[in-house]
Symmetry: C2
């Protein structure tokens, strides 16, 4: 039993296809009597409209394509939740793809999604290779690049500077009296934003005549377990550090757990610093420093931009929305910084 079409509903209701279409869409100029007949027929037949036909015919879709690199920590799911919430009530629908931090896969996903004629596309980061950027530019739809500001946007850009985040954290830690630093990271070859934070952090260290006394970097993706493991290794090799900077909060939380197991006082002996401002960090048994990135807000703002961009003149819109992370977890650095 095939699914009923608009035409079949129209026949059942004793009207033309066009009238049925108007009634179903709630367009004006349909007598309430006719509308009721059509709605009744549609309900009776379990009619569900065909958006393929609708979109093909009307030359526009309600699809917003979104590409994120990963779903294995809570960061991108929160961005997606923000986008989804920000789109609520607009009639638009997000379509997600996961690139696994793989540029070739990202390009294929983008190509695939563009074939669905989305009304906008949201991608992560500014570092797409030229071929991918080309694809995006030729789509002739609003392109929103999320999370990162350190680079040249194609169109719209919502995020924060990871270089500056690294710099800010280093300055805060030096101001807090720390001098002997270690770095624990993972997957830096793929997670370019983590690399930018590290580079910013090192710029400030060098400006103060300092540097990382020790680094532990693994190719695997970040996790609490990996942070714990690398920290244990690091402290066995260089026990006299007074601060460790991590690629993110997952790694940093693992670092805290390693210190607790080794009986190293946090933050008294070693200060632990991560990035993201995960909820987890606020509940941990010892304070660790972090840069709070407004992940959900970034998603919501991206959704707002999409709504504006598809409605109104794109040229009259701000091209860049800058968020500034707040540093938390260092004495005397309560709630500095703000979003703008």
């Amino acid at each position: 039993m095939r699914k009923p079409t608009l035409e079949e509903v129209a026949i059942e209701a004793g009207v033309s296809k066009m009238t049925a279409s108007r009634a179903l869409r709630g367009v004006a100029d349909v007598s309430s009597e006719t509308r009721d007949k059509v709605l009744a027929a549609a309900t009776r037949m379990n009619y569900v409209g065909n958006r393929l036909a609708l979109s093909l015919s009307s030359q526009r879709t309600n699809l917003v394509a979104v590409v994120v690199p990963s779903m294995s920590n809570i960061v991108f799911p929160e961005v997606l939740a923000g986008i989804s919430a920000g789109l609520d009530g607009s009639g638009m629908q997000a379509v997600f793809g996961i690139s696994d931090y793989d540029v070739a896969k990202e390009r294929e996903i983008i190509r695939d999604m563009l074939s669905w004629q989305p009304c906008a596309i949201i991608v992560t980061g500014l570092d797409q290779p030229e071929e991918t950027a080309d694809l995006l530019r030729h789509a002739n739809i609003p392109v929103i690049q999320l999370m990162d500001l350190d680079g040249t946007p194609i169109d719209f850009n919502v995020g924060l500077s990871h270089g500056a985040a690294g710099e800010g954290m280093a300055e805060a830690l030096i101001a807090a009296g720390r001098r002997r630093f270690g770095y624990v990271g993972s997957a830096l070859a793929r997670d370019l934003r983590a690399g930018k934070r590290k580079a910013g952090f090192e710029r400030v260290l060098h400006a103060h005549g300092l540097g990382f006394a020790e680094q532990q970097i693994d190719d695997a993706f970040s996790s609490i377990a990996l942070g714990k493991q690398l920290t244990t290794t690091m402290l066995a090799a260089v026990p006299d550090l007074d601060c460790i900077y991590y690629s993110n909060d997952d790694m940093a939380s693992g670092g805290l757990f390693a210190c607790m197991e080794l009986g190293v006082a946090v933050p008294k002996k070693i200060l632990i610093a991560g990035f993201n401002g995960l909820d987890l960090v606020g509940s941990l048994p010892a304070p660790i420093a972090t840069s709070r990135s407004p992940r959900r807000a970034i998603g919501e703002v991206a959704a707002q931009l999409v709504r504006q961009a598809v409605m109104s003149n794109r040229d009259a819109m701000p091209k860049t929305i800058v968020f500034t992370p707040t540093i938390a977890g260092i004495d005397g650095y309560g709630a500095a910084g703000s979003a703008s």
Copy 2:
């Protein structure tokens, strides 16, 4: 500048629409010379096919609709990652929607997604209201219900019994000598699976002449912070518990942090038990009990079912895939249980 159509590519290549279509799709019976001409023209013009037209014309799509209740902890993102990975290479594309544990919103999302004529739909849980189930049944596509087994599936079912998971955990804890139980949970009105675990747990308690000495339940959604807060409250009221069962691992982790702050020995004085088997739990500074649910595997298996169902005869396929959670974190309960 509008996007080029197949017809324009065909003209540019000096062939008919049909030949261009065949060349682009790699269908047989196209001379390699012609194929090259068409491919060159398509590349030159940055041609991207229009899937709306393709799907409308061919009467089939590569879309798999997926509805999950939440993105605010790592559980469903992992399921989605499993689905996405399981679909890789099939040419199918997942489309996600988030219902926020709201049945009305879920129904609207499902209705919306069905209008895109997906080739299959994956939803969370077995407890959709009749109206939603009707929608699903009338779609005439494979319906896969995830995570839960305690109920009547519409079509295919992949998951675990949460009632049994609660029972198993209670038995393990009683076997481990615990007798004075507390319960800490959240959002039970919406998270029905958490409620089923609690009910199973209580069935076993009652069978042993026991019950919860104290309960702390909040309407908010689960989080580490909430688990910590409710546990602090609970231990202030009833300090002599020897075990607390939580609605999930996020809440349980918060409970552990509360105990650490209060100087309560875990697991010596109080044993803490959650559900999910999050990575986090394996790195925590004290052992807590959990039921490991194979979230990613559930997603991957669902994707496999979809691939089979759209290719072959649905009737010849298994209707239910049962996973059994493993209990971890209780002495003597190493790696009991297995997936089947």
